[in-house]
């Protein structure tokens, strides 16, 4: 399938239009929050993390998912293949015509995001398929004083472009609030052109000053024409901006997209890469070295994206 269109939506619309819903059951309190607000989808699957089975709220979350009628599937945080298989089953299982599939990406890993989008991209369909992606940001907490080391830095399964290295690299990096991770990625990739995407959730967004502070070195070393702020509340506009930036860069660069910040930006990177097969999407992961860290949902800032997929390649 190919991505036809993308727009902003609501949880109400998601509830009304979806026949299947896939969420993640992890240790964050945030894991179950969207599920509590979604009515309707009869087919419900929770991807349960293999890792940290007893950390923080994991046990309670799992119990709640069961109570809400979810089938549980245990998956490793980096196991993209299994997620693809599950998405394939869920998305292609018989359902009333026109019904959509929804994903709560809030507590999923980037490897899972990639697997979902990859499966949708490679699925075959006779008619349009609508998908919803729901995301709720975490309530603000200061970033950990010591960030865990990077164990994996590289392309996500299915999003490595393999272009021969005859053009320079441009790195489009979605900034997060962990200190200097973006600078580390930049130093490793050594791009000729760096584009920074800074999330901003309004004037009162507590993350914003933290993101700027944690990335001050890379921000001061990047030409201001290549630093873009985007609104978390407007993913469709962000997608259009990102698409425009990447389209402009592709003639002269081999583009790498990397999201170190809000997961919804990472999702947009994957969606965009389905349109440009020469664009790579990279992830940075701390592997076994990351410690569990709780996240509570900020339900005032729920984001829902509707993406419509058309049959066949673009």
């Amino acid at each position: 399938m190919h991505l036809k269109s993308l727009r902003e939506s609501t949880l109400g619309e998601l509830s009304d239009r979806c026949s299947a819903f896939v969420a993640a059951c992890g240790y964050e309190h945030r894991s179950v929050e969207i599920t509590r607000l979604v009515r309707g989808p009869e087919r419900r699957v929770a991807l349960c993390f293999n890792e940290w089975p007893e950390a923080i709220a994991r046990v309670d979350n799992q119990r709640e998912f069961v109570e809400r009628g979810f089938d549980l599937e245990v998956v490793g945080g980096n196991d993209a293949n299994k997620v693809q298989e599950i998405v394939s089953r869920v998305a292609q299982s018989p359902s009333p015509s026109g019904k959509a599939v929804a994903f709560d990406i809030s507590s999923m890993t980037r490897a899972w995001h990639g697997a979902i989008v990859r499966e949708l991209r490679t699925m075959e369909a006779d008619s349009d398929v609508e998908t919803f992606f729901a995301y709720v940001p975490a309530k603000f907490r200061k970033p950990p004083a010591h960030s865990s080391p990077n164990e994996f830095v590289g392309p996500v399964h299915g999003f490595a472009a393999l272009s021969t290295p005859d053009l320079p690299i441009s790195a489009v990096i979605g900034l997060g609030y962990e200190r200097e991770r973006a600078l580390g990625l930049q130093q490793l990739l050594d791009p000729e052109r760096t584009v920074l995407m800074v999330p901003r959730g309004g004037d009162q967004d507590p993350y914003y000053p933290q993101v700027r502070n944690s990335n001050r070195h890379i921000l001061t070393r990047t030409q201001r024409d290549w630093v873009f702020e985007y609104s978390l509340a407007e993913p469709a506009a962000t997608f259009a901006t990102l698409s425009s930036i990447v389209s402009g860069l592709r003639d002269s660069y081999r583009v790498v997209l990397a999201s170190l910040g809000p997961k919804v930006f990472g999702l947009l990177c994957f969606l965009l890469a389905t349109r440009f097969s020469d664009v790579s999407v990279w992830r940075v992961s701390s592997g076994i070295h990351g410690e569990p860290r709780d996240a509570h949902a900020d339900l005032d800032r729920v984001v829902v994206i509707s993406a419509v997929w058309g049959p066949g390649p673009r």
């Binding site: 490595a160 490793l188 790579s280």
Partner: protein
């Protein structure tokens, strides 16, 4: 859009990475070095050094496009470089970078159950990349010789078995790239059957030996362009150190035995690959060319020349010199003949008198060397050299950090970064003679406001320089901390190791008793664990550590048994000096640093 501090446009001298420069621009900013003289020899070569040390620049300088500019633009105006011979071969530069290398690696992960197909897919990608680059070179030769390439192109299509293809250089390249796209399409769909069938359909030369396709293409060129084809080719593979292992193995095997018509010019990390350790072969089959400098002074001539050209280009001045912009470094030690520095009332004299008043151990040192703590003047040059010049950097550092320790009430953030790291020599030393680092530092320094404190003082104010260099040092450490750790390793072993050694070396300079002969480097002894050896290898590749010297023509064959030091880029952060000083067994240093907190925290306790 948020306004951030503007980063000013850099010139070709300011490019951080030669990889992104056209060969012509590489030639315009090129500063010849001895390694280049060795690289042009008709011999296989292994260019060894950390990232950013200029390996790509040298490979690109071998190419026709760079040589044309060198001959046409540079030599007529700069005859002093005339003794740098032009290569007597046609170089084909085959690029690589971290992105490509990671993407090739990802093919293995995607096809984890089909390792043979994964390797064949990688082989096809490498072969296609090499042939694509070769066609650019063929095109340039044909154009320069006004040759109609039609016959050659048709032959190339036939002999490389490209199938129906319009005989033009761009069409051939598009055809080849299309083959990679087909592999990619199969990977995205996880259609292993389609990938397998596609690989089976490719001509054998593209999935066979890494050099098969490109050497075949060169041979076809020779056959169909009689009279203009070069007698020898040099295949220049960049970033081999991060390439798939099968490619490394084949290249190293080819260094020892391959068609004499083809030379190999390869890049590698600072430690000789284990495939090549039968040492006696090195002299005959290939030359290992060392691209790093163990001592700060070794890099100075290159740095001075590069910086002069850089400044004149960016400041559009034909006369400006590095000293005008940055001034001398307080650590500079080539000032013994200058009586103003060590004489009564001179800057070194003042620092020594000041320290002697507050540091009893230094006071004692001067007395023991027959010098008056109130007036440490040595008229005899040898005594000045031995007793004063040698310890001047240590005195400066103790003076700077001693203040920090004593003056607790007024201690401020700036004490963490005492303004002693500035000036021409400090910049050169921190760069390690690494053009990418040097260009980066110079760009940042020139992006600040150029306002001399007084008439005749350097354009870039020392405190500003000091701040910029400290930030660069801090950033280097960030790069080390965020460099991906080896799978399965325990946490941040490399950055923890660097941190431990940085603190250890700093404490050596600030021991309670003044020490004129501190430890500044480490001998990697047999008691060092394998895990530390592995971290050292990574550290040497990314430039966190530098080989000071090692046996066998200064090319280390293993980390074990070599002598290393921390990169001078880390000096401002840890409060170190640009000297190697004496060495210590690494295992001993690690044991002491693990057990002794007295040395580590002398600064705070004082």
């Amino acid at each position: 859009m948020e306004v951030v501090q503007t980063v000013k446009t850099a010139s070709i001298y300011g490019a951080f990475n030669a990889r992104w420069l056209e060969p012509e621009d590489v030639a315009r900013s090129f500063v010849p070095t001895l390694p280049f003289k060795r690289l042009v020899h008709l011999q296989n070569s292994l260019l060894m050094g950390p990232r950013g040390c200029g390996k790509t620049t040298l490979l690109k300088m071998l190419t026709r496009r760079a040589q044309n500019v060198w001959k046409g633009e540079r030599l007529p105006n700069e005859p002093q470089w005339a003794d740098y011979r032009r290569p007597d071969f046609e170089a084909i530069y085959i690029p690589s970078d971290v992105r490509w290398s990671s993407e090739l690696e990802s093919v293995s992960r995607e096809l984890i159950d089909f390792p043979t197909d994964a390797e064949r897919a990688q082989r096809a990608s490498v072969a296609i990349s090499a042939v694509v680059e070769a066609t650019r070179v063929f095109h340039a030769i044909a154009r320069e010789n006004e040759l109609d390439p039609s016959a050659f192109l048709k032959a190339l299509i036939t002999h490389l078995q490209l199938g129906p293809t319009i005989p033009s250089f761009p069409e051939i390249r598009l055809k080849l790239v299309g083959w990679i796209d087909e592999i990619l399409a199969g990977l995205i769909k996880r259609d292993t059957g389609a990938i397998h069938r596609h690989l089976d359909r490719l001509p054998a030369a593209f999935t066979g030996h890494a050099l098969s396709a490109v050497t075949k293409a060169c041979t076809v060129f020779e056959e169909f362009t009689e009279g203009i084809a070069p007698g020898r080719w040099a295949l220049c593979f960049d970033e081999l150190e991060i390439a798939p292992q099968w490619l490394q193995r084949e290249m190293f095997a080819a260094l020892r035995s391959f068609d004499q018509k083809f030379l190999l010019k390869l890049t590698w990390s600072p430690v000789l690959p284990t495939d090549l350790t039968p040492r006696q072969e090195r002299q005959h089959d290939y030359s290992a060319i060392r691209m790093w400098h163990g001592h700060a002074a070794d890099a100075k001539p290159f740095c001075k020349e590069f910086t002069t050209r850089f400044l004149r280009d960016r400041l559009t001045s034909t006369t400006v010199a590095p000293n005008d912009v940055f001034g001398p470094s307080p650590f500079a030690q080539d000032d013994s003949e200058n009586p103003d520095v060590y004489g009564h009332g001179g800057p070194a004299w003042r620092t020594m008198v000041h320290l002697a008043q507050r540091d009893p151990s230094f006071n004692q040192y001067l007395i023991e060397h027959g010098l008056s703590p109130d007036n440490p003047v040595a008229e005899v040059v040898s005594i000045r050299d031995e007793s004063l010049r040698k310890v001047k950097p240590i005195v400066l550092l103790r003076e700077a950090f001693f203040k920090d320790a004593r003056d607790r009430v007024t201690r401020s953030r700036s004490r963490k970064n005492p303004p002693i790291y500035y000036g021409e020599d400090s910049i050169y030393a921190m760069s390690e003679g690494n053009p990418r680092l040097l260009a980066g530092l110079l760009n940042e320094l020139l992006d600040t406001d150029m306002k001399p404190l007084t008439s005749g003082s350097p354009l870039a104010r020392p405190p500003v320089q000091s701040r910029i260099l400290y930030l660069a040092s801090q950033r280097t450490l960030t790069g080390i901390k965020t460099y991906p750790i080896r799978p399965g390793s325990r946490g941040r072993s490399l950055s923890a190791l660097v941190d431990k050694l940085g603190r250890y070396l700093h404490s050596e300079l600030l021991t309670p008793e003044f020490n004129a002969d501190p430890v500044g480097s480490f001998f990697v002894d047999e008691d060092v664990s394998q895990e530390v050896l592995d971290e050292l290898s990574v550290g040497l590749l990314i430039g966190a550590f530098v080989h000071v010297k090692s046996p066998q023509q200064d090319i280390p064959t293993s980390v074990l048994g070599s002598r290393i030091r921390l990169s001078y880029m880390l000096a401002p952060y840890y409060g170190l000096l640009f000297r190697n000083y004496r060495e210590m067994r690494l295992s001993t240093a690690l044991r002491i640093s693990a057990s002794s907190q007295r040395l580590m925290f002398w600064r705070e306790e004082e």
